[in-house]
Symmetry: C2
Subunit: 126 residues, 2 copies
DNA sequence: CGATGTACCATCACAACACATGGAACAAGT
DNA sequence: ACTTGTTCCATGTGTTGTGATGGTACATCG
């Protein structure tokens, strides 16, 4: 399990991390139950800030690819392989594309769409 | 028909214009067929840039509140009063609220929603 | 020629946000 | 004591989009 982070890649670092871990799971290099390096450990190895690693781990756990078990460390989720192929963002993209297309058909300006979106995001806080 | 623009008001100038014209229509101070000041004329009176006025007029015409008749000038739309009460943005807000709420329920991060939204807006260009 | 709305070129300040960084602290279990 | 993940404080940089400005030009009609 080697992870390579390319600083020159415009892809956000935490995204690169997520990608590589998912790929390792799909390729069978990481199997359910396998222990992952601790956040601080990995941050040290990759010379990244621990917050960046933590962000990647948080998202991976949300997608049920890994499991954080507190003081015991972080492990590959039992259903990791299956959940790796589920792309939550892809679904979000589809939904948004449909919604935005309907707005444009109605003649709504991009500016107006953006403002309404911003309002929706802020008003739903909570 | 007097229009007052408040520079200190955080509300965008073109929005203030739209609001006041719509209100004038609703209040019956502007009736269908009435002529509106020309873009350059109004820009001069309010000491605003003509583009700012043009933007307001463009949106008002899209909502069928006014009608631009080229060299003849701009007039209040026959169905202005009815179309003033139709708030396109309200419908947009409802749609977005529902969509965003479903994303949040699925555990999607605000950041991810914003990025997906940004992508959807840019990728659908044409 | 003058006026209309409209289209294109451009610039600037301002705000919101993403990404990444750093430090400090916490509860939980070994 | 030590390490685990997590959460709070914070800063800085870069990008993106808005609002508003200015200039120039066009076709159309009087």
């Amino acid at each position: 399990m080697e992870i390579i982070i390319d600083i020159d890649d415009p892809t956000p670092l935490f995204s690169q991390l997520i990608e590589q871990i998912k790929n390792a799971v799909i390729a069978g290099k990481l199997n359910p139950g396998d222990a992952l390096p601790s956040i601080r450990q990995l941050a040290n190895d990759l010379e990244l800030n621990s917050k960046t690693i933590a962000k990647a781990y948080r998202l991976l756990e949300r997608d049920a690819v890994i499991q954080a078990k507190g003081y015991r460390g972080t492990f590959v989720h039992p259903d990791a392989q299956k959940n790796c192929t589920i792309d939550l963002n892809e679904w979000v993209n589809e939904q948004l594309n449909k919604t935005i297309a309907s707005f444009r058909d109605a003649g709504v300006t991009d500016s107006e769409i953006r403002i309404a979106f911003s309002n929706a995001m802020n008003n739903q806080k909570n």
